[in-house]
């Protein structure tokens, strides 16, 4: 039987394996970003988280995507990456 070939229909993109960061020992003193993706009532959830995180000694910064339907703009992602140690993204409805 002769060889049969087909052409790869995928994007042929090899995904780079990325290692997870080490889990922080404590959140006291950490800069924690809270990203609101603009879904209704996401703020309710994040308000509560903010209170709890502050009680635990975290420095909380709030961010908001313009719309939940699109990926976060690159500037916003950069801002969070440079200003925070960890980030929590909330999905709510």
């Amino acid at each position: 039987m002769t060889s049969r070939y087909v052409l790869d229909p995928t994007g042929e993109r090899s995904v780079a394996e990325r290692e997870l960061l080490a889990r922080p020992e404590t959140i006291a003193g950490l800069r924690v970003g809270l990203l609101d993706i603009s879904k209704p009532r996401g703020d309710v959830f994040l308000d509560r988280l903010e209170t709890m995180l502050q009680e635990a000694g975290a420095i909380v910064q709030r961010y908001r995507k313009p719309t939940f339907t699109k990926p976060a703009p690159v500037d916003l992602r950069h801002e969070i990456a440079t200003q925070c140690d960890v980030v929590i993204e909330a999905l709510a409805d």
């Binding site: 049969r4 087909v6 052409l7 229909p9 995928t10 994007g11 719309t67």
Partner: protein, 478 residues
């Protein structure tokens, strides 16, 4: 892939022994050779023509690379460049190109040639791979000897749940003949993984979907349209709502490629309708990485996410949707819309346009929820019998849309949360307002369907505007 052989200066004639016209002109060749440099290429029999020595174009490289479709072909080459050519036997043309005034005096004035071996249907796919296969960049994947071709496509996760046509080099190269664009041309960056997709990868998806090459420009343009920021394919894929790209095709090209805008236009049975939409979704799946359960989070989805593509009637009393959205009159164009499955609107009694407008509006009001307004657009696919009611009364597109809008001004008291004993609805602050069901331009009117049936169809959209998806209309390229 072989290099393109150059043609020698002077006259070049390509013949095959099997061709009667070639055999008829063979005796003229020595006298042409006496007049100046002549090279004869023979495609089949290396001994032909017996009148003089010919070069055997055994692998058909000369014929292929110089686009010889008919034999005999007579070409005059000057400084390595083709200056003129004639195909078949035309006494006047051969005399003009050879400069021999009495050439073939005893032959008929004209005789058509035969098909070149290089375009023989039994050979062309193999030749295309031999001579043009090198321009393909995709990884070649070998199938195991005992593997069934169709099962192999499923096993690799490349299908939408239905069998696909295996994308062999032969099929992909034949598909690429459907466009003037280069195979390595980048068409768009496909969400969700934002991978650049080339014409070649789109052609692969088109083969798998079952397209014919003439559909490829429609697929390419649709990919461009759905991958815009306005259409927001990422969001359309990721949403829990049951939407996917709905493709409305407009213009005379829909007839040329055999699309259906008539009986069962939104249904099964037409190759172009079904495979164009399917190819687009296969690109999103295989190139963009958008898969159900992955980034595609639809709660229910809808069967149209396999393919939802139809043509508008070419002679609608309202003109085409694409024209109404800025495409040039008579242009081939597509409009992409993030839409759910179609729903039937029945009105078999209205013969007055006012009554029918009220009827359509009453159904349109229920889109997604009768108490939700302004958030969603709709495609209203008007059936020809409904369209006739309006056309006979002299209502044009603007009039129909204006009357629908007038019927869809809704009292806020019916829309707010709690009204009608239903929690869903608008905030209380809108209780005293009057709100339209649709934003301006939010009703996209298209005409399609069979000649019998006093029905229309509505296709509900996803979150509209800049926060969601905007319909996108584009002229179809080549």
């Amino acid at each position: 892939m072989s290099a393109r052989p150059n043609l020698p200066d002077g006259l070049v004639i390509v013949v095959k022994e099997e061709c009667e016209t070639c055999r008829m002109v063979a005796p003229l060749l020595p006298s042409i050779a006496e007049h100046g440099p002549l090279t004869v290429f023979t495609q089949d029999d290396p001994e032909f023509p017996k009148e003089l020595e010919a070069v055997h174009d055994a692998d058909l490289a000369v014929s292929w690379h110089h686009d010889v479709e008919t034999v005999p072909t007579l070409v005059r080459v000057v400084d390595g460049v083709e200056a003129e050519r004639t195909v078949g036997w035309s006494q006047s043309e051969w005399r003009r190109i050879t400069g021999i005034g009495d050439l073939g005096a005893d032959l008929p004035p004209m005789r058509p040639g035969c098909g070149s071996l290089s375009v023989d249907p039994d050979r062309i796919d193999e030749l295309r791979v031999r001579f043009e296969g090198g321009r393909l960049r995709s990884r070649r994947i070998e199938l195991a000897a005992l593997e069934d071709d169709i099962e192999a496509m499923f096993a690799r996760g490349w299908t939408d749940g239905l069998p696909v046509v295996p994308p062999t080099e032969q099929r992909v190269l034949a598909m690429l003949d459907g466009t003037t664009r280069a195979a390595d041309d980048v068409v768009a960056s496909v969400p969700p993984d934002l991978v650049d997709v080339t014409v070649e990868k789109v052609a692969i998806a088109a083969v798998m979907a079952g397209c014919r090459p003439e559909y490829l420009p429609w697929v390419l343009t649709t990919i461009e349209a759905v991958c815009t920021d306005e259409f927001n394919m990422h969001g359309v894929l990721a949403t829990t709502m049951p939407v996917g790209p709905v493709i409305v095709c407009s213009g005379p090209g829909t007839v040329a490629i055999g699309m259906n805008s008539g009986v069962n236009a939104l249904g099964q049975g037409n190759r172009a309708n079904l495979t164009i939409g399917r190819a687009v979704q296969l690109v999103v799946r295989n190139v963009g990485g958008g898969r159900p359960g992955g980034v595609d989070r639809a709660t229910h989805g809808n069967p149209g996410k396999l393919s939802f593509c139809f043509a508008e009637q070419p002679h609608s009393p309202f003109g085409t949707l694409a024209e109404s959205r800025g495409a040039p009159a008579g242009a081939n164009a597509i409009t992409v819309f993030a839409g759910e499955g179609p729903r039937c609107i029945v009105d078999q009694l209205s013969r007055e346009p006012e009554s029918l407008a009220r009827s359509l509006a009453a159904c349109l009001r229920t889109l997604h929820h009768p108490k939700l307004v302004l958030a969603f657009d709709v495609i209203l696919v008007m059936g020809p019998e409904h369209a006739r009611v309006f056309a006979d009364a002299g209502w044009d597109r603007q009039r129909v849309l204006a009357e629908l809008d007038a019927c869809l001004q809704l009292p806020g008291a019916e829309l707010v949360r709690g009204a009608g004993g239903i929690a869903e609805g608008l905030p209380e602050q809108f209780a005293d307002a009057t709100l339209p069901k649709f934003r301006p331009g939010g009703v996209l009117l298209a005409t399609a369907g069979g000649a019998a049936g006093l029905f229309s169809a509505m296709i509900g959209g996803w979150a509209n505007g800049t926060v969601g998806s905007q319909p996108v209309t584009r002229e179809v390229g080549t």
